[in-house]
Amino acid sequence: MNEPHLANPETNPSFTKGLFCGEIREELVFPYPVLSAEERESLGLILGSFRSWAADTVDAAKHDHDGQFGPGVREGMAELGLMGLNIPEEYGGFGASAKVFNRVFGEIGATDGALAVYFGAHQSIGCKGITLFGTEAQKQKYLPRCASGELVAAFCLTEPGSGSDAQAMKATATPSADGTHYLLSGTKIWISNAGFAGLFTVFAKVPVEENGKKKNRVTAFIVDAKAPGVSLGKLEDKLGIKASDTRGVFFDNVKVPVEDRLGDVGHGFRIALEILNSGRLGLSAASARGTRRLMEEALRYAKQREQFGRPIGSFEMIQRKFATFAYETYALDSAWMLTADMVDRGGVDFSLETAACKIHGSELAFKAASEAMQVAGGIGYSKEFPYERGLRDARINLIFEGTNEILRALVALMGLQQPGERLRAMGKAFRNPLHSLGVIGGFLAGKAKKTVSTPEFKLVHPEFAGEAAQVAELVKDLGAAVERVLMKHGKDVIDKQFLQERMANASIDIYLSTAVLSRVTAALEHAPDSANTAWEVECARSFISTAYRRARRNIRGLTRHRDERLKWLAERALDSGELLPASPTD
């Protein structure tokens, strides 16, 4: 059953999955994408309109304080047309590419985190399912009103007992006897845009009979927010993104016409994943732009604030912060843009890359907010300045659209699939060697080939040959370490999250380094003498040398670690309910 995959691992090529096999699928990441002249011009106009409008209308500090958007904000987003930015043109939207969409997402996020959540919950996930999986009739019926902002959309997946474990959901949709509709019942929580929404994309289980057995299959539905039986919980009082309307949504025997089922019965889980896969890219673009904005605020402060008779920006501990976030954000920008291009190109599996961007971006932006606050010192802690709001707003990104933990597990386990299948096929083959000589021969040949020819980059600019060799060395070592882990733990690797976390982190650093290599190569080829390219080169070198060291450590930790000790400490704490032994003062 795994044979087709084994025979043709390029059916759905993924760069990051390749890394787990010790391969560099360079054609997926070179050349670095560029915007067409037309796209660049449109993007400039959209950003210009948004900025002018936001300068007049959007008061992020007030939104944060009041816990709601000011007058004209949601209407203005609709009038500008932003609610239809990524909805196809034929359904009344702008039909922006992922590159343009995410750049605009970033701008909105850097301006007002809550507004970005409003925008993203609507388009990145709320009505994205209809664009991706809707029938022609569903698209005609809903998308034009979503694009105009008349219908705000929201995405209802999470339940009280089903967060990261989406399969554990309890909501049900039971077909009516006459087959005209479903009766939807269940509770969804943490729903962004709940109070604004005109329609919900809802996931619920449909009871079916398969081979005489009763089963429940996760299925997606488009639900009218005004339908009888739909009710809303109270507004959540949150740490940040306060103006974003987050509530529980309750469905009590809501009649959903069969024509509003999205996709087939049982396809809901895949639909949810697909929506989230592309949706989470927006968070990374917003993280990149938000980091830049807050750090630039801190830069201005560091230039002007004097202590000991000189600007604090002249002290190296402060400079180290700016340098770090310059090269880390450079890498994040390089990666989200490259990933957005994979989304635009189609035919590429980008699920692990969007996860990598979301993980790196959310953690970077949160750290950046904290460090920008540190640069600003006491005033950074005051509500008069944007740092503390930035810190609170940025925190959610580590949690929603897939916690960073579940995403790391996703990256690791999906990454392990191909090498795992090869080994499993090996196992099977040896059990039945006469029938499987081809498989064994192929695998051994592949293995032999791998030991001779190490992975390498062929398209990197010669100036970065050294860095390219370093990254290639990481890929080779990751591939080898993954194989050792699989040989040692077999399918038990599913529970080895200490290892999964390291694998994920290593592959993320390798992917980001690759994106940086691709981007800096393009810069060196197209504008070798520009001051901007020289600046890029410095960012690129600093990032890759840092990422190399991090990834090295993570790869080494796959075979040499002290996880048993960590596990003992954690389990002891969990058993006793106390984190650590009594302190001398207890």
Binding site: E38, E41, L45, I46, G48, S49, L80, G81
Partner: protein
Amino acid sequence: MKIAVCIKRTPDSESRFKVASSATGIDETGLKFDVDDFAGYAVEAALQANEKGGGGETVVIALGPDNVQEVLRKAMSMGADRAIHLKADSLPSDGLAVAKALSAELKDQGFDLILFGKQAFDTSAGVVGTATAELLGLPCVTAVSKLDVSAGQGTARRDLEGAGEMVSFPLPAVVTIDEGVARPRYPSLKGIMAAKKKPLESKPAQLGDARVTVQKMELPPERAAGRIIGEGAAAVPELIRLLQTEAKVL
């Protein structure tokens, strides 16, 4: 009403400017360009006049190399119906040469109203609008902050130093627009999409002779560093003396 708006592409006024190595212009690398601020007001004034009048046509015109097509498309994404690009390798410093090209284009097209910004941010010359009016033999009202047009007649308000002046004039006419007339609208996404399908005609500019050329451009001299005269009340007499005798501001 058939309205022409002549617009210019100028750098963002908040840019940091450097003199180019030629020393006769600015270094354009890294600068952001846009519809000139006053020209943006003129586009808005034209759109509002036609919206109020219940129809008509707004035509935007710009002169220069291919990159001026960007600002023409922006004006169309705000709502202008079509655009004319008068192609020239560069924009002459002589406003009369530009006015000749514009008037050659405008003269037989039957425009009721021809709008300009009162001056462009980059040159601040304020010549092209008035010179075009002269070449076309049309009445010209400059620096207008409020404009009303209907049935062959226009009225306008001009803000003077400390006073306002209301003028009336017959159409066709040339009007140069000051800020205050109306805030330029933001292009919506729908407008941006629509602009891609609107006609943009590009043709060679029939420039007049450029008799004025820039010989040298220089930045203002750098300000000398500040000087601390002393501290507290004791320093005040000396400060006043220096402000009177040295800085001559008191």
